[in-house]
Symmetry: C6
Subunit: 260 residues, 6 copies
């Protein structure tokens, strides 16, 4: 039965730990309340897969602007499930593969997952897996069709699977009828206020406290607060660029303002 | 002759029982009168194939919104025919096959069916078999053409065949001249009133009777009754998600209302 | 010389009798005067090929709505010619062949025909041989080009050939410049009055005389006579469906009315 | 030198006599003055190739409506040149060849021609060699490009070549910049008056003199003279069809009137 | 060093003399002052390549209407350079090659040129090398991209290269961003006045002096002078055609007038 | 650790010195202040990669009009980094490679770079690597997708990478969502005033001082100053062309004026 099957599989089986950890290289900084809410939602889906035999397959789409932290959050949810099988499907390991090889690799991850009683598969940057480009538009219909089927293909008896997808192109996936294939979705926003920037600056220790306060008050004075919408990934890059500069405050402020 | 030929084939020959049963994993709940009507119609087509030598080939298309239960109903009709050959053609077993391999597999099922005096073939999710995507639009014309021919190709002498197709994209199939190739079609609707929801809730035992009544009255008060149109498949998922939540009623009601 | 050559070939050479007979499975019921006129015209073309040395190649296109009986009539004409070589080119035997293989097979039939002094080739469902679909539109230009050439390629000295094509898509073939390549064409209409239906009903013995008369008078009363346009193939299917029903008259009448 | 080279090649070398003769199966009937003018022009081009060392390559395009006699006239010109190398490039021998094989075959004919001091190449039905279809439009750009180059590629020293092309689609070739590659062109019209029909009828002996006169006067009375535009090829077919009919005059007149 | 390297290569190395000579089969007749100006410009580019070590790569595009003499002029410039490596890249030697083979051949010419201290490469009829056709439009992007790179790829140290391109489709090359890749361009016009025609007629000796004068005065009287725009290549063809005719003057005048 | 790893790799490992040097064949002439500013910015990015462990991957796009000096500047930045691994990815070494081979080569450079603790990769002429052409438009989506992934794929632990891209088609890359994948970008402008021209003329020693002054005053008088926008690469070509001419000043002035 199910609990017995669970024991047979060594916990470490099929976990892409290294890859998943690298997705969260710069930690998950709780710069806004929604970050914790997202991780809590993730836990609910993990529980549903673990407990409801009527829904052995649950799929969730994390979507939001570029660099908002989607991959880091999906990887975190996956690792926290502690399921015996946790795998990352990512375009980064598929550079130069043709459609057929890509689909074979994706399909293999799903088939492998059926060997474990409970599994999580993270499908990262779906638009990139699909070779999406807005000129045309062009994309790999073969990969799309494979994903459309795999997102709905139930695992065999006594096997359960949680699928976490990420994308910056939700509206495109909608045009492709892919969003219908996900059971649920989660929006991952950018940082839109200076409190968020402040928390990240503290964590990264770019400035002394005094410098930081000056920096934030300059930004506030120039109205950045109102138009701010910066991904956590970009903010980390801007901080590290500023760190090289003779005048860190000026560099940081100018770069942030140029982005708003 | 025909009755003799019927005896020669062992009843279990060529039946995809496991796959078909998995299509009806959560039973067929009679949440509305049309469910039984659909199954009765199915029996009539089965009878026609069994009895009329003038129409050795009969094809029926089940169509309707996503998750309305098309696959489960087609699988049920097929299994209830008790014909010696019952097969499922599904995109789920064809992930990563190219057009040629797909067509070969589909064609093989038809040719295999000719070995049995009476057969049912379920062609599930035709739009997915066709690799249909609305952007472009794109689809596999080779698979389409194969299906258009197979839907009309009469079985050899003394062989009879019932074809049950399913699709969410009837209007697309119409543009492709495919609906003309079906002899008949059956519409499978979503659940559009709270009585249907009530029957399903009872069956799934999410709530106590009291909770269920409160839930339904909240939904009725918020006017959900008028705009409701939820597939049985989605309703089952919503029920299982709610089951994980601390406040099951709130979760259930909110999710349903978000869908109307 | 020609008459000598005629003797050398055994009459049964190259005749696809089984396939052609299956095309006329349900006989040719003379439900209207045009049926006999069409068959008489067919005989004239057969005679021309047999007798005029100036026109060793004659091609005729049978066109009309879906299910109007084109294939059955072309097959009948072909079989009645009693030429030593009579072949059917049909999409039904080419499922899954690629363009090259299809063209090779078609070309082979033509080359084989040159071995007989007189031949008939039926090219059935040309739009399907061309993989035609209105979305796009898409079709196999390679098959089209092969047909365009073969329709005009004269057989070698002392060889004669009658080509009978069928299609539901005459206007498409016109856009492809294919109708110009046929020397003549024949329109095959649907049944458009209740007399035709009556003749077919008598032949098929669905009803007692009394039932039949009642049925027809109901149809006449509801004005079906004026809007009727049903292919013989569909009418046969409707009759067989009605045959399964408890109330045959009601089923028959309702289905016919739903089609008008 | 040139005259010496001319002797070395046996006159029959590389002449596709059978194929060319078959193109003129029904003779060239001088139904109008332009027929002789066209053949005289053909002789001038043949002379130019034979005599002018400055223009070792001359190319002429015969164009006009379907069935107007282009192929028969080009074949006649070619055969009358009595050059040692006369070849027909025709879609009829290339059914089912892919682009590469087609181009190889075409190119080979040109390379072979260089072995003869003087050559004629007839390129028949250029639009068909190009796999032209107006839907799309689609055509083989590879074959087109090969022809564009070959039409202008000078033969090697002391070699001369006359190219005769035929097409029904002059305006398409113009859009493809192909007409520019021909040095000259000749228009081949249909029969547009009853005198032409009369001459052909006499030659074909369909009617007695009396019948013929009656036929023509009926046609004249119904105003056919004014709207007539029938290709010689079609006229021959109509005559042979009428020959089978009980009432030859009626059949002939009706068919001709249906075409005007 | 450079001068030493120059000695090592035998002067005849890599010169496509035969092909280049054939491009100027009918000499370069100085029918207008611009002809000599173009050849003088050509010498300047040859000198620059020979002398400036800062610009080891110089590319020039000769463009103008069909038959205006572009290829003959480019070939003349190339041969007059007397560089040790002079090669012609022409569509005429590439009939039937696929894109890959074409590019390999083109690339090889460039790589071969690097073995000589100084080289000229003539790239003839670029639009034809690109398989350009205005319907679509279609062309070989692979060949285009190869040319775009090769036109700018500097030869290795101590190697120098002059590239002479020809085309009738300058505006198309502009749309393809190819004109930007040429360092300079030269316009080659048609003959636009009767003086030019006169010079050519004298050279070709079609007429006696008296005939020629009459011919030109007829042309002048009919206003041909104002609308004249004939390529030298076409003019030569017209002269040779007229030479075959009984009435040479009439034929010549009529053909010229038909072209204006 | 990181510093240890740095020692293990011989400094010359993987440096494409010859190719990079050839990109700066004509030096970097400081004809305007922005030249030095660009090189200083380049140093900052090099420092960031060397020092910040949070941003092991930094990518910068140099963009600007044709011939403005992008490649020379990127090559200079790369060489000045003195990182152990410095590689040039250029379309010039990939002529005739198909998409797959191109991607394999590009991917290999990235994988090779991971063997060095610190690396610079210059991706030159990205629009050309993508086989971009505005007609269509057409481009290699496969190469695009590979670059999109590689631009964001983090090097493994303890490895750092600076990517310098160049393009003339920034707006196209923007439509392809590629600019989002670069962390920063640098605009490289043309020469837009006569001071810049003067500096370059002095460096190239085309004129005596007196000639140069006269030249510049002629240009100033004709208002060239206001409309000037010439790439340094073109200016160098114009100078070398003028050097061949009898009247260098006239040639130089005329060519420059023709470009404004
Ligand atoms: N609260 C947070 N949420 C997500 N990521 C965070 C957070 N705090 C810090 N990070 C860091 O920010 C980075 C987020 O990058 P990530 O690749 O996850 O973004 P993304 O949205 O997937 O980007 P892309 O749109 O490019 O795919 C990671 O390095 C992560 O460690
Ligand atoms: N009355 C019913 N009719 C159909 N299915 C039912 C019914 N009651 C319960 N079910 C269950 O609901 C689910 C219906 O899902 P099914 O896959 O058949 O829907 P579908 O319409 O084919 O979906 P899709 O549009 O995604 O193909 C099955 O698990 C089935 O057991
Ligand atoms: N008068 C008739 N003419 C033609 N077919 C008839 C006639 N009477 C009965 N039939 C029967 O009707 C059927 C006609 O079907 P058939 O396949 O020939 O139609 P079709 O027009 O070719 O259809 P489709 O458009 O699908 O190709 C055959 O089974 C034939 O035996
Ligand atoms: N004056 C004539 N000119 C040409 N053909 C003639 C003439 N008189 C009789 N014929 C006969 O008419 C037929 C003309 O057919 P042909 O194939 O040459 O026409 P076509 O214009 O090439 O047709 P298509 O447009 O189909 O290629 C031949 O059989 C030829 O023998
Ligand atoms: N002044 C001239 N300039 C160029 N060609 C001349 C001149 N005088 C005579 N000729 C002859 O004219 C012909 C010009 O043909 P050429 O093939 O060079 O033209 P083209 O412009 O390249 O034609 P196309 O546009 O077809 O490529 C050659 O045979 C050449 O010998
Ligand atoms: N200040 C400068 N900046 C850049 N290049 C310079 C400068 N001064 C002189 N040069 C020289 O100018 C040339 C610039 O050419 P380069 O190929 O770098 O331009 P590019 O912008 O990359 O051109 P393209 O748009 O064609 O790729 C090089 O030969 C370089 O040595
Ligand atoms: Mg991501
Ligand atoms: Mg389904
Ligand atoms: Mg048919
Ligand atoms: Mg012809
Ligand atoms: Mg030329
Ligand atoms: Mg560059």
């Amino acid at each position: 039965d199910f609990m017995a099957a669970l024991q047979e599989v060594p916990p470490a089986f099929g976990v892409s730990e290294t890859e998943l950890k690298q997705c969260v290289q710069n930690q998950v900084i709780p710069f806004a309340p929604h970050i914790e809410q997202i991780l809590a939602d993730g836990k609910l889906y993990v529980d549903q897969v673990r407990q409801s035999s009527r829904t052995p397959l649950v799929s969730v789409l994390l979507h939001g602007p570029a660099g908002s932290g989607k991959t880091a959050l999906a990887a975190t949810m996956a690792m926290e499930s502690e399921f015996p099988f946790i795998k990352l499907i990512s375009p980064e390991t598929m550079v130069g593969l043709n459609e057929t090889a890509k689909i074979a690799e994706i399909n293999k991850v799903f088939n492998d997952s059926y060997k474990s009683p409970m599994s999580v598969i993270v499908i990262d940057s779906i638009e990139r897996l699909l070779d999406w480009v807005p000129i045309g538009p062009r994309f790999s219909n073969a990969v799309l069709q494979a994903l459309l089927v795999l997102l709905k293909r139930k695992p065999p008896k006594d096997r359960r699977l949680l699928i976490l997808g990420t994308t910056t192109e939700r509206s495109i996936l909608e045009q492709m009828n892919m969003t219908d294939s996900f059971d649920s979705d989660i929006y991952v926003p950018t940082i839109t206020n200076l409190e968020g920037v402040d928390i990240v600056l503290q964590q990264l220790e770019l400035f002394t406290n005094q410098e930081r306060e000056r920096t934030l008050s300059i930004l506030a004075d120039s109205g950045a607060d109102k138009r701010l919408a910066i991904g956590i990934k970009k903010l980390l890059m801007v901080i590290e660029m500023a760190r090289q500069d003779a005048d860190k405050i000026e560099k940081f402020v100018n770069t942030i303002l140029a982005l708003t």
